[in-house]
């Protein structure tokens, strides 16, 4: 496939899918401790995961941007 094209699949996409694991692994974060700034782990961990996922998506976006390598 020509380098300038968006492909159906890129190895970078795995990075996007990996973040589903912590998000769906409920026993991992269903706890109160450690509390940070008065917020139990269950809540701050998931909100932090949103930020991580935004960051990961940005990385994958730039890595797979068509035309960048081609």
């Amino acid at each position: 496939m020509e380098g300038n094209r968006e492909r159906a699949w890129s190895p970078w996409y795995l990075l996007l899918l990996i973040q589903f694991i912590p998000a769906l692994l409920v026993p991992l974060y269903n706890r109160v401790e450690p509390v940070v700034g008065g917020i139990p782990f269950f809540y701050w961990f998931q909100l932090a995961l949103v930020l991580v996922s935004a960051l990961v998506t940005a990385v994958v976006y730039f890595a797979t941007e068509p035309g960048r390598n081609g």
Binding site: N4, R5, E6, R7, A8, Y13, L16, L17, Q19, F20, A23, L24, L25, V26, P27, N30, R31, V32, V35, G37, G38, I39, P40, F42, Y43, Q46, L47, L49, V50, L51, S53, A54, T57, A58, V60, Y61, P66
Partner: protein, 513 residues
């Protein structure tokens, strides 16, 4: 409730006036021939990254979300936070899958997901099933937007007995119908910019100011009953609430992207790159949704349900009144008006897009396919405008005359129904290995099983699936779409043996730039 809050109401009406004007003015924006369906119903596929971001964000985060997610946190606690992993899952899927959908739809001038299925699998009955599923899943969703509007109007003290009480809602729907008719998708796109700005202001103001008023985050969480602060650990022989939480997040994410209004929002983007950029930028909304869920806990900590001035509101709207009560309690009246406008306008944007999406489906996949094959562009656009009007009136009648409980149950069923289009639409983007008749049977079984399972647990979201002595309570939609897929896989080789497959109108190269 008895007294009209004039300050809040004035601010609300002023902002409502502004967006109504914007809705009509939008007809002239990036002008196109609104007598063509792709101009009226997809904004001419001309929206760049930024507008698509506002449009899709304004589309996916509805007024009902802003009311119902905090209400669930208020009433049921930790489980409401499934909305956070749900948004973590949505955007990667959007990022990977939807540029493909955008390219193929642009190439073949498809306006709906059912158009794509028609071209890909060459079976008009399968396309009809996809279209009808989209329409019936969308209608209760529109009705719930109007419920969100009803709650904030009620919170400003505008109430009345019987039909008189419905007048403000009727006015709102008439405005909605008028600008949708005259401007098509350009109207919600323009209004979404205002709506999302107001939502961001509301969310950040609430999350910064209210915890300070309540004496810090520790006090907020101290007010949450211990058994609701976390999910209940599962007992022996079951995955308990853990399974419910994870399947709700995954199933809702898949269902969300299949809803016609998501498709419409995404297809209106001007390029596949704009779709990709949006998937990368949309997580900004996820944070807001997570923060909004916390409003339910703020309402608990502020004890708004015990204050006499809100007793009437809670009696009428139950937990859905938690957010409006919190706003009235925590903010000066004018700012409460701003937040109510954010929610009210947050009802109109998705309602408008949903009605357009349902209308596109009816026009393309029912009217032109089965009733009037020779329809001109103009007849097509005209039919869509009528269909969109009928859908909105139907939703209005539903909200005014039918108890709220039924709208919520139908919305739950809507999620179970729409996910049944996953094998044909999402998997169809990658392979046409499936036989269309096998997909149709899988769809039918998924619809029937999902409806029956939801009914059998009295319309709870989770169904206690029993396998080999274990109980796996989980989201019915996810379970039934797996059943649907298995049936389609088993039947495909059998049906293939009976006859030739119809032609695929799409080529492999149509799916990328």
């Amino acid at each position: 409730m008895e007294q009209v809050n004039w300050t809040a109401l004035t601010v609300f009406i002023a902002l409502f006036g502004l967006i109504s004007w914007l809705g009509f003015a939008a007809a002239h924006w990036r002008r196109g021939d609104l007598d063509q369906l792709h101009e009226w119903g997809l904004g001419g596929r001309r929206f760049g990254t930024l507008i698509t971001w506002f449009l899709v964000g304004g589309d996916l985060y509805t007024a009902y979300t802003f009311i119902a997610v905090p209400a669930l946190a208020f009433g049921a606690g930790a489980i409401a936070f499934f909305a956070v992993p749900y948004t973590i899952i949505v955007y990667p899927i959007l990022f990977i899958v939807f540029p493909r959908l955008w390219y193929v739809c642009r190439k073949h001038h498809y306006v709906t997901a059912a158009d794509f299925v028609r071209g890909r699998f060459g079976n008009r009955w399968l396309a009809l099933a996809i279209a009808v599923t989209g329409i019936i899943a969308t209608m209760p969703y529109i009705a719930l937007q109007l419920v969100g509007l009803q709650v904030v109007i009620g919170a400003m003290g505008v109430t009345g007995e019987g039909l008189a009480g419905a007048i403000p809602l009727v006015i709102a729907v008439v405005i909605l119908a008028a600008f949708t008719d005259s401007s098509g998708l350009r109207a919600p796109a323009a209004i979404a910019v205002v709506k999302d700005t107001l939502i961001y202001i509301t969310a950040f103001a609430a999350v910064i100011i209210i915890p300070i008023q309540l004496g810090g985050w520790s006090n907020v969480f101290a007010a949450v009953p211990a058994d609701k602060l976390l999910l209940t650990s599962p007992g022996p022989g079951t995955t308990g609430e853990y399974g419910v939480y994870a399947t709700l997040a995954l199933g809702s994410a898949l269902a969300l992207l299949l809803y016609p209004h998501s498709m419409t929002g995404i297809l209106s983007a001007s390029s596949g790159g704009a779709v990709r950029r949006n998937a990368a930028l949309l997580p900004a909304y996820s944070l807001v949704l997570g923060l909004l869920a916390l409003l339910g806990f703020f309402a608990l900590a502020a004890g708004v349900d015990k204050l006499p001035e809100f007793a009437g509101g809670f009696k009428q709207f139950k937990a859905n009144f938690a957010v409006p009560a919190l706003m009235l309690h925590s903010f000066p009246a004018w700012f409460a008006g701003v937040t109510f406008a954010a929610i009210g306008i947050g009802a109109l944007v998705p309602a408008s897009i949903m009605s357009i999406a349902a209308a596109n489906l009816f026009t393309r996949n029912v009217y032109r396919e089965f009733l009037h094959g020779e329809a001109t562009d103009k007849q097509e656009a005209q039919t869509a405008k009528w269909a969109s009007l009928i859908v909105k009136l139907g939703a209005l009648i539903f909200v005014v005359f039918v108890p709220l409980q039924y709208a919520i149950q139908l919305q739950l069923l809507g999620g179970i129904w729409i996910i049944q289009t996953l094998p044909s639409v999402l998997i169809g983007l990658y392979t046409r290995w499936f036989n269309p008749w096998a997909l149709l049977v899988g769809w039918a079984v998924g619809m029937a099983a999902g409806t029956y399972m939801a009914y059998s647990v009295n319309f709870a979201a989770a169904y206690p699936l029993a396998i080999g002595g274990w109980i796996f309570p989980g989201y019915t939609a996810l379970y039934t779409v797996i059943l649907n897929l298995i049936i389609a896989m088993v039947l495909t080789p059998m049906v293939n043996a009976l006859g030739a497959k119809p032609e695929d109108k799409t080529a492999a190269a149509d799916y990328y730039a």
